[in-house]
Amino acid sequence: MKSIPKLIRRFVGIMMLSTILLIILNITFFAIVFVRNASTLSPWDMADNAAAALQLKDGGYSISDDLMTKLKEENTWAFLIDNDTRQVVWRTDNLPSNIPMQYTLSDIAKLTRGYIDGYPAFTGEAKNGLLVLGFPKDRFWKHTRASWDYNFIANLPKNTIIILAINIVLIFLIYVAVNSKLLRSIRPIINGIQNLSDGSPVCIKEKGVFSELAEKINKTSGILQMQAGQLRKKETARANWIAGVSHDIRTPLSMIMGYAGQLEDSKNLSEIERKKAAVIVKQSSRMKDLINGLNLATKLEYNMQPLKVKQENAISITRQVIVDFMNTNIDDKFLIEWKTADALSACYINADKDLLKRAISNLIQNSINHNENGCVIYVSVDDCNNTCKICIEDNGIGASDKQIDILNNTPHYLICDTSTTEQRHGLGLLIVKQIIKGHNGEILIGHSEYGGFKTVLIIPK
């Protein structure tokens, strides 16, 4: 099944694409969040700004009204620890009451790293001391023991890529494993459907996730087999019926032809009577040809005449057909000319010799039948790369474009399910088409450069 690797390729492709898309989406999302967070001023910057804004004026510290308003909006408070005394020398009005006013070095280290009495604190260096900015308890979380190994930081990009790659490979493996299992269970179903289309009987094990589907396919196969069997039976019955009728009609027709043939040559009869006998012979021969044609056409249509294909020389076969016609003393009105290049002595094709002879013979006979006033029939064989072209044409009355279109495109009434009353063309051409179809060849019907009808049989080598 050619579509399985294609299916796997498509699955894997979709998976890879979705993974890449997911990564891009995550990075974008992360970037958006990061940028949004970064746009608001960080507490450390706020502390630095506040420290810088603190001014010593008239022996006391003050801060601009704008900054004060902003601190209040953020629900933030601040105080300044003096470098020398380590006492709070300035503070905002909203400083909580439990905040101490005196600090040791270790207190300062603690609050810088973390919290004051549960409030997240941030420090900024002022002119004579340390400005401490305190936020509400639920506003920030601080990492009090943050420290990173330098190697860890240096290897972070590499490690991130490795982890990402491992993740992708892992996802890929899981995906392949899961899909392989799925495909394994689908394979009998696919084979079953393929066999169904070939017309072969199907029997899939009805187990696993697709058991219900398998059951339906088995059931469909049963129905198709039954229908095909019935159709075959009908076709065989029809072909046998035609074969039987044509067999039974042969003996009486033999007597009609035999006696009429004798009367035609009888010297005891008058010219008129002999002519009447000749008409009976001619019409009996037509009936004979019709029976043989009908029999062969039916068998070819229902594949009851298997082709006995061998390597044959198309030139030799065509030459023999022409000579057979010439040896049967065809009317002087009809001339057959061999137009094959002298240099071409062989053109090998895989063909059923008898059927191919029959096809060529039918076409020559058609030229004779349709040109009552006589004609020259030109026969040629041409070797064209991978095909052999057998061309039968004449300088007779030919056919109109409409007639040629009908001959090329309209099915014969024998194999058509509509309009059985309209006779499109004789059995002869139907048989030629069937024979050439059996040889995987092509038939072209058209106008001849000699003025009449032209048929080209193209048979692959």
Binding site: A243, H247, S254, M255, S284, N292, V323, N327
Partner: protein, 234 residues
Amino acid sequence: MNEDYLLNKRILLVDDEQELLDMVLSILTEYGFQNVKAAKNVKEAIEQAGKSRPELAILDVMLPDGNGFELMEQLKKGGSYPILFLTACGEDNDKFKGFGLGADDYIVKPFLPKELLFRVMAILRRSYKEENPLVCLHDSQIDFSRAEIIKNDEHIPLTAKEHNLLSALYRNAGRIVTIDALCEAVWGSNPFGYENSLMAHIRRIREKIEQNPSHPVSLVTVKGLGYKLIVEGK
């Protein structure tokens, strides 16, 4: 060439249809055959064969008490003579079976009297050659038994290939024989690529049988297709 001696050959005709039997009998006797016996079933056919020792049997395939193929095997035990099937069974398998068992020809009904006579004469000609068969041509005679040409009282020998070629042409005297069939007659079952050799042999035969080989009258060319041997009085 006189073929009257063939008309004396004894023919056994077997068919279960009385009317058909009568008709074939009349075709053969009107043509000049004098020793034609008829039988309607296997039993009668075997009895008649024992009595009349036929030299050609014309058999139907479907008979009331057996079939023609079995009858042929039994007749062949009693003597070696050609068998022609004349039957309504036109299936390829029937034909192959008939030929496979040793039939000499197979005619599917319906048939024209001329076709039957042509095939009967062809089989008899192949099977029974005249004691001193001299084939008369326009300017010479062929003596197949001695493999030579008699022209202007001169005896010119034929090579084996020339003999084979002339035999193939004579078997179809008056009819065109294709280049391929002639090559096959001389060089066997894979005869392609011998066209030039064939032309050389034909030229040599013409030198032997024709007065003017450049304007042949007995061995004529049908351009691109084959050759035809024209026999005098035929």
